[in-house]
Amino acid sequence: MSKDKSKVVERLRAKILPENRIFVRKNLEISEQVYALLKERGWSQKELAARLGKSESEVSKLLSGLHNLTLKSIAKLEAELGSDIITTPLEACKKYKTTEYIPFRIFVPIPKPDVDYSGTYVEESRIDYDPIYQKIAV
């Protein structure tokens, strides 16, 4: 019996393995992270390619969200960008628990039409901290 050609999407979707979905999602997240770091550093994709010793099209393929990135290529990207691209939940937990929070006050002048407020500042807000971080705050 011949297959119904109009139902091909349903058949293919039924065959998608959960790991395929995770693979693409994580790949796109990595790509997004790299682009965010490039933006932060003011680098172009071309510049990144030159730093990695790769062609621009190779880097483009690497960041397409479909390339099977190896841990080695991620490590190279991290080394070149000087920042983590992926962090395990355990590592993230350690990192955030050891983050030091520095309290500071923000002083903002509040204009009062009929009052001369020049030279006087009013404390407008104070940042509240999550209790878990208060203990380690400097």
Partner: protein
């Protein structure tokens, strides 16, 4: 003999960030994108790539948007026609690639993408490949026609330029 095609909204591929379309050539059973999927469906060597491609389309459609520089690779051969806003850049055929699997498409903007046909690339230069060469040519041909339809406002943008509007009987002469 004149060949005509119609635009088809891919109803299973209408996402939060991207709406996908294809074209159906008169006399064929399914649109070009579905034809690609049907031809690739039983090829064991690309079955995982095909799955990834589908998920990728869904993911960028739902969460990322069709960002040309990031997710698509320029594969234009002859199309050098100026497009209407929003991009004001050349209308070009793009390819999505997973290893040797190629799918040709047109990214009108971050929210509207046409998916055409493709196949398994076997030569270094896609143009020379018997599998995908004809589909690149076809994609470029369609892109030229779509550009004309945009210019003549037979295909129109919605207010936010997140979707296109067209008459369901609109014909594309190839």
């Amino acid at each position: 003999m004149n060949i005509f095609a119609h635009i088809e909204r891919l109803k299973d591929f209408q996402f939060r960030k991207v709406r996908f379309f294809s074209v159906r050539i008169e006399g064929t059973e399914v649109n070009e994108f579905f034809d690609f999927l049907n031809r690739m469906e039983d090829i064991e060597a690309v079955s995982e790539d095909l799955s990834n491609l589908l998920v990728w389309i869904e993911e960028i459609g739902e969460n990322h948007g069709a960002i040309k520089d990031r997710f698509f690779r320029n594969e234009s051969i002859t199309t050098d026609v100026q497009a209407l806003p929003p991009s004001k850049k050349q209308m070009e055929a793009y390819e999505i690639l997973v290893e040797d699997l190629r799918l040709y498409c047109l990214v009108l903007n971050e929210h509207v993408v046409f998916l055409f046909n493709g196949g398994i690339k076997t030569t270094k230069n896609a143009k020379d490949c018997p599998n995908v060469g004809p589909y690149i040519k076809q994609a470029n041909q369609i892109v030229v026609k779509l550009d004309k339809l945009l210019k003549s406002s037979e295909i129109r943008w919605n207010k936010g330029q997140t979707d296109i509007l067209f008459d369901k009987d609109l014909e594309i002469e190839l």
